[in-house]
Amino acid sequence: MIIFDRFVLDNGLRVLVHEDHSTPMAVVNIMYDVGSRDENPEKTGFAHLFEHLMFGGSIHIPDYDEPLQRAGGENNAYTTNDLTNYYCQVPAENMETAFWLESDRMLSLAFSEKSLKVQKKVVCEEFKEHYINKPYGDVWHKMRELAYTIHPYRWMTIGKELSHVEKIHMDDVKHFFRKHYCPVNAILVVAGAVHLEKVKRLAEKWFGSIPMGEKYMRQLPSEPRQTEARKSEVFSDAPLDAFIKTWHMDARLNKGYYVMDLATEILGGGSSSRLFQSLVKEKQLFSGLDCHHFGSIDNGLIAIEGKLVKGVDLDTASKAIDEEIEKIQSEMVNESELQKVKNKTESIIAFEDMGVMSRANSLAMYELLGDANLMNTELEKYHTVSVADIQAHCKEVFRQDNSNTLFYHCK
């Protein structure tokens, strides 16, 4: 049970406080309700580039990192398709430094031309390092384009192509900042060796006077129900054939999300999972295999992907996957198999909750989903899933006409 307090400033900033006096540190975590799904399709990768620009100086403070490091703190940030999160950890005595820094960049950035110029280059190198200069680096670019026709999950957080990042202007930056980076679109979590009253005082002092801004009303096109199987083939100079198949699944808060999360584990979690045992160990069609999903807030994708053992052809591998899918659709999974993945989930949650930084991040995430207390009811939701639920949802999700298959051929 994670205990926390919650209050809202007059400008709409939601503040959550989680005290844990077993650590000497304080964590200050700010989540903004903006991700790459909120981008203009012609300027993808912007939310992530913007995250870099948040470190390029704010209106009163030329450098974000330096004063924080001087206070003994460390920080980082990440952007996903759904959200952008900034977090820092600092000795609790110096917590106010984080309030000062975070509030100043919420008030206004410095909008430095130099920072924009340099960070565009840095992000392009990040793009190259992870998505171009690696075998199979483009797999998920291609899969997202295949699986989504109109929803902005069609592109990756890093962006569709380098040129999108390159053509971003300072006007875009200013507009994006005003639209998304205001108190009413943000959640502040303060955790660790902190006291509620002090956090209230500091939040009011540093964030209270920032203009509220306008609540961002997200109106994304929802992806129409897929009615026909899609397939695409890629030829590359990667050394092994690879197979990826995805199916659309429920949004984060729906029951189907929890059911399919467990089904993912049954199929592909660990070396006792069905796909690993059958296709890597027994049939030896794949040299490695994964079944996973992205935990997306909107309707996401469940994926099975793996590299083929040399000499096996993609059709054979694909059929073998289909057989496993048919099996989980036609026969109920064992109670003990379901119990296993529930036990694993319980354990994952317990380990995740060990670190105060991870707890702060989860609180912000659940608050963004609508209610921070969801963090405390999550395990219960997994416990209510039955073997019949698994079968019913697998039948619904793993339909061929809901599937997207990518054959990645080596030369």
Binding site: H60, E74, P91, W100, K117, V118, A238, G269, S287, N343
Partner: protein, 426 residues
């Protein structure tokens, strides 16, 4: 109105009191030492069995890593599947990793399942059978994985730079080829297993919220095993750094980035300059605010990241600069790396920068000591390196007191471009 131009008052982290929580220590009936940290809020545990079974002790390439990997792949009583199923059913994670001197088995679990899991871990230390079928699958999949990795310039660069610094004969400089997998025999694994696991030298580290009967439970499963009865063979390797100081390798003619590694041999933690060099390294390339990062990423945008670090070896070590940079700016990046060395040699570090790094290092250490797994991790490093807690407090004192002059002298001594080996893989 508040004045946002003025930073809030801070307490210098450098003066904060840091304490390394002491461990509980006891010995099993067979002499296996156990080190334990009780510092958790959650009812979870991490247990680590450290064996001296790294590639330092193998006579044939990749035997140590393969033996370690296959500990989970079958015993006289259980198939690979049954072993995985047992741990996973109880929500536990059983991992194994092989390093240079040591190889470990790590268990993460909820306390309530511990007694059901320990006997199986013990079985993995005494009853592994290394089935031919499992070995064949492993070889096939590892060879294919290697083939994918060999397409990556960073992977190639990491292998080669170690070879250039230590020599291929040395466990730190050696790497694997397809032929090594082909030549692996089941008998190699069995022999290595018996010598270095079943009758090997073992230490146990525990962290989390250990149950009151931890010693009893461990003794029950492990206290009677023939561990720690025989001494380790005395095997020594001498590094043979390459005479050539500059390498250019083309791995992918169409690649858009190059992997840069620039390295020199350096001493280990027992050298009197080690702690001071750590401070110098932080200033040079050890954190986000370092000079390499500020110049090469934040000013020039040549790379997503550039880091320098001292390798974490028990014996001889290396000081390394590592980055992936745009193909057209690799040469310019390398030039800046050397330029920053010379600046550290020629100009004293200003107080402001040095104070910042001191505070950052102490603050970061304070954060690192947060939680039982982190605390035991630090103790494990010390114990395996034959260091005591004095090392912890002396290192802190060094961070607090090392002077700008001392750091400049160290830069003159160790940051000499001509003593570094440079590698660019595109």
């Amino acid at each position: 109105m508040i004045n946002r131009l003025i930073a809030p008052e801070t307490i210098d982290a450098v003066h904060m009191k840091l304490q390394l929580k002491p461990y509980e220590h006891f010995t099993l009936d067979n002499g296996v030492p156990v080190y334990s940290i009780d510092a958790g809020a959650q009812d979870v545990l991490m247990l680590e069995w450290v064996f001296y079974a790294g590639n330092w002790y193998e006579e044939k390439n990749i035997v140590a890593a393969t033996t370690n990997f296959m500990l989970k792949n079958g015993t006289t009583q259980k198939t690979a599947f049954a072993i995985s199923e047992h741990f996973e059913f109880h929500g536990a994670y059983l991992n194994r990793s092989c390093y240079n001197e040591t190889a470990v088995i790590t268990l993460h679990c909820l306390n309530k399942h511990l007694s059901l899991l320990l006997p199986i871990v013990a079985e993995m230390m005494t009853d592994c059978i290394f089935p031919e079928e499992e070995l064949a699958i492993y070889k096939q999949n590892q060879k294919q994985r290697l083939e994918v990795n060999l397409k990556k310039c960073d992977f190639i660069a990491n292998r080669l730079i170690d070879e250039y610094i230590f020599g291929f004969h040395h466990p730190y400089g050696r790497y694997t080829s397809t032929v090594d997998y082909d030549q692996l025999q089941r008998e190699d694994l069995v022999a290595f297993y018996q010598k270095y696991y079943t009758k090997g030298k073992c230490l146990v580290f525990v962290a989390g919220k250990p149950p009151a009967d931890l010693a009893k439970q461990l003794n029950h499963s492990f206290g009677h095993l023939p561990l720690n009865q025989f001494g380790l063979p005395d095997i020594q390797f001498k590094p043979e750094p390459s005479e050539v100081k500059k390498y250019n390798i083309v791995n992918d003619a169409a690649g858009v980035q190059g992997a840069i590694r620039i390295a020199r041999p350096i001493f280990n933690r027992h050298h009197p300059d080690f702690a001071k060099v750590q401070v110098l390294n932080n200033i040079y390339g050890g954190f986000f605010g370092s000079r390499l990062m500020s110049n090469i990423r934040e000013d020039k945008g040549y790379t997503y990241g550039i880091h320098s670090y001292l390798q974490n070896h028990l014996n001889d070590s290396a000081w390394l600069i590592s980055t992936e940079a745009g193909r057209d700016v690799c040469e310019a990046t390398i030039e800046e790396v050397y330029k920053e060395m010379l600046i550290l040699q020629n100009e004293p570090i200003e107080d402001g920068e040095l104070d910042l790094v001191r505070n950052y290092m102490i603050g970061s250490l304070l954060g690192d000591l947060d939680g039982p797994f982190q605390i035991i991790g630090r103790w494990k490093t010390y114990i395996l390196n034959y260091l005591t807690e004095a090392y912890f407090y002396n290192s802190i004192q060094t961070v607090q007191t090392v002077t700008s002059e001392e750091l400049q002298d160290l830069a003159k001594k160790y940051l000499k471009p001509e003593e570094f080996t440079e590698l660019l893989v595109v």
